[in-house]
Amino acid sequence: MRALPIPLMLVQPILATIGSRVASGRPELFERLGHHAQKCFVIDPIDLPFVLALRPVPEAPKLTAHRRSDLPAHDACIAGSFINLFDMIDGALDGDALFFSRDLRITGDIEAAVALRNALDDLDGSIFDDVGTAFGPFSKPAALAIAGLRSLRGRSRS
C-alpha cells in the first residue's frame, strides 16, 4: 500500500480522540502495562508516510503522528506493514508469527514492546471498533473504513 503525504495537522486531532477513547474505555490496558505505561512506543507502518508515537500514560495517554525524519525520543519501535499492524492490534494476527516471518520488526526496549503486545492482546473484541464509535457523525464512515481494512485481511500476505 502506498499513500500520498498527509498533512499531519489533519491527523493529530483524530489520534487525540483515539487516545482519550482508549483511556476511558479500556482501563485494563494500562494495568497490564504496569510501569511500561510511562514509556514511549513508536509504531511504524512502513508503507505510510508517517509513524505514530504512543505514550500510554493512564491519566493522559498521547497518540501523535510524526514524520520519519522527525522521530521523537522513544523506548521501543514496532514496525510492519499497515495492514499487518492493523490485523495484529485487531486480534486477527499473531505477533510472534509476524516476527518469525520477518514481517514485524521490534527494536529498543523489548520488554516494553512485549508488555504492550500482551496488553493489547488482552482487549476483547476490537479496539478499532471502540474508537470507531468515538467520531460522532463520522462513526459510520469510520466503521465502514474498518470493515474495508478487514476485508483486505489475508490478501496482502497471499
Partner: protein, 339 residues
C-alpha cells in the same frame, strides 16, 4: 488418515491462555481445559504483561465453569530457598478458587498441595522432567499425582510402554515449543543473564533481548549482549533463546544449531497413535502467544480430535504460518533420530 474410533477414549484438549481474553478465545474455540499462570515467578511464563491477577483468575473460573470447561493453574517453577511462601500462596489461591487442578514441578510444592488440600487435583508438570515409570510412580505414591505431563523426549512407543506401568493419566504436548532440552533443568538463560528459567519463570527475559536489523535486512539477535543468531533478509527467525542459536562448533565449517533448531512441534498426524498409546490429554503449548494463535490452533485441533472420534478423515488446517522458523516437526515422538 482413517481412524477406528471405537478403540479410543476421547482425550481432553488442554489449551494455553496468557490472558483472560486468551482464555475466552480458547474455550470458544473448543478447549476442554485451559491452563494459565499468576502474575509472578510461580509459573514458567512469567513474562511482562502476561498472566492473571487473582481477580481475573476468579472470573476465569466462573467463565469456564459456565461453559463446562476446566481451568488448571500452572505453578510449575521451583521455589528458591527462603521464598516458598509465594508458591504456597499460589496453591492456596488455586484451592480457594476451585481450580480443577494445579500443575506442579517442585516436590516441596507438590507435598504442600497434597497435604494441605487432599482434594486438590495435582498434575505433574513437564518441568519435573519425569520420564520413567519409576519416577512417575514415585510422584503418584508420595503426592497423589493424578496426571503426568511427559517430557518431549519420548517416542509414541515409549509413551505406550510407560502408560502400562503407571497408575496416573498421561498428558503430552501436541503443538508448540519442541522443548528438547532436559525440561526443568535448563540453565542456559541463567548462565547468560543471571535470571533463572526454572526459579524466576523466565526463559530469555525480554529486558535482556536486543534485536538489530541492518539496512540489508540482516537481523541479529542478542541475549544479555551475547549474539545468538544472525538471520539473512529472507530467513525466518526464531525465539531469542540460547538453545535455538547458531554457533561455531568443532567439525562444522558454518555456524550450526548446536542444541536445537527454531521449529515447532506438530503432532497432528500422530494423534490416533497417541490416543491408542493411552494418552488422556493433548496439550497445546503457547501461553505467551496471542489470542489469534490460540483461536487458530485450538480450532484446528478441536476439529481433528472430533474427526478422529467420529471416524472421519482428518484434515488439519495448515498451521505453518504460526510456527517458529516456519518449520514444524514431530520431534522425538516419531523417532529419536529426528535430527
Amino acid at each position: 488418515m482413517t481412524t477406528t474410533p471405537s478403540t479410543f477414549t476421547r482425550p481432553e484438549l488442554i489449551c494455553p491462555a496468557g490472558t483472560p481474553a486468551g482464555l475466552r478465545a480458547a474455550i470458544e474455540a473448543g478447549a476442554d481445559a485451559v491452563y494459565c499462570g499468576l502474575q509472578n515467578a510461580t509459573n514458567a511464563r512469567n513474562f511482562p504483561g502476561l498472566n492473571f491477577s487473582v481477580k481475573e483468575l476468579t472470573e476465569a473460573v466462573a467463565y469456564a465453569n459456565a461453559r463446562n470447561a476446566k481451568v488448571l493453574l500452572a505453578i510449575n517453577t521451583f521455589p528458591p530457598a527462603g521464598k516458598f511462601d509465594l508458591w504456597k500462596d499460589a496453591i492456596d489461591t488455586a484451592a480457594r478458587l476451585g481450580l480443577h487442578a494445579v500443575i506442579v514441578a517442585d516436590i516441596g510444592v507438590a507435598a504442600y498441595a497434597a497435604r494441605t488440600y487432599p482434594e486438590l487435583r495435582v498434575h505433574l508438570s513437564v518441568q519435573a522432567g519425569a520420564s520413567s515409570p519409576e519416577a512417575i510412580r514415585y510422584y503418584c505414591e508420595e503426592f497423589g499425582v493424578k496426571r503426568v505431563v511427559l517430557p518431549r523426549i519420548l517416542t509414541v512407543t515409549e509413551i505406550a510402554d510407560i502408560h502400562r506401568q503407571i497408575p496416573c493419566e498421561i498428558e503430552t504436548f501436541i503443538f508448540g515449543n519442541i522443548g528438547m532440552m532436559a525440561e526443568g533443568r535448563c540453565s542456559l538463560t541463567n548462565y547468560i543473564t543471571g535470571i533463572s528459567t526454572n526459579m524466576d519463570g523466565v526463559c530469555s527475559p525480554a529486558a535482556d533481548v536486543r534485536y538489530e536489523e541492518t539496512a540489508d535486512g540482516t537481523l541479529t539477535t542478542r541475549l544479555g549482549g551475547v549474539m545468538i543468531d544472525r538471520f539473512g533478509c529472507n530467513e525466518s527467525a526464531g525465539y531469542p533463546t540460547i538453545c535455538k542459536g547458531r554457533y561455531t562448533c568443532a567439525g562444522k565449517s558454518e555456524p550450526y544449531y548446536a542444541f536445537e533448531e527454531p521449529l515447532t512441534l506438530n503432532l497432528s498426524s500422530l494423534l490416533p497413535d497417541l490416543m491408542r498409546a493411552g494418552v488422556t490429554a493433548l496439550k497445546i503449548e503457547g501461553r505467551q502467544r496471542s489470542r489469534a494463535y490460540v483461536k487458530a490452533v485450538v480450532s484446528a485441533y478441536r476439529k481433528a480430535v472430533d474427526d478422529i472420534m467420529a471416524g472421519r478423515e482428518v484434515a488439519l488446517d495448515s498451521l505453518i504460518a504460526l510456527t517458529e522458523g516456519s518449520k514444524e516437526s514431530q520431534g522425538a515422538f516419531r523417532s529419536k533420530t529426528w535430527r
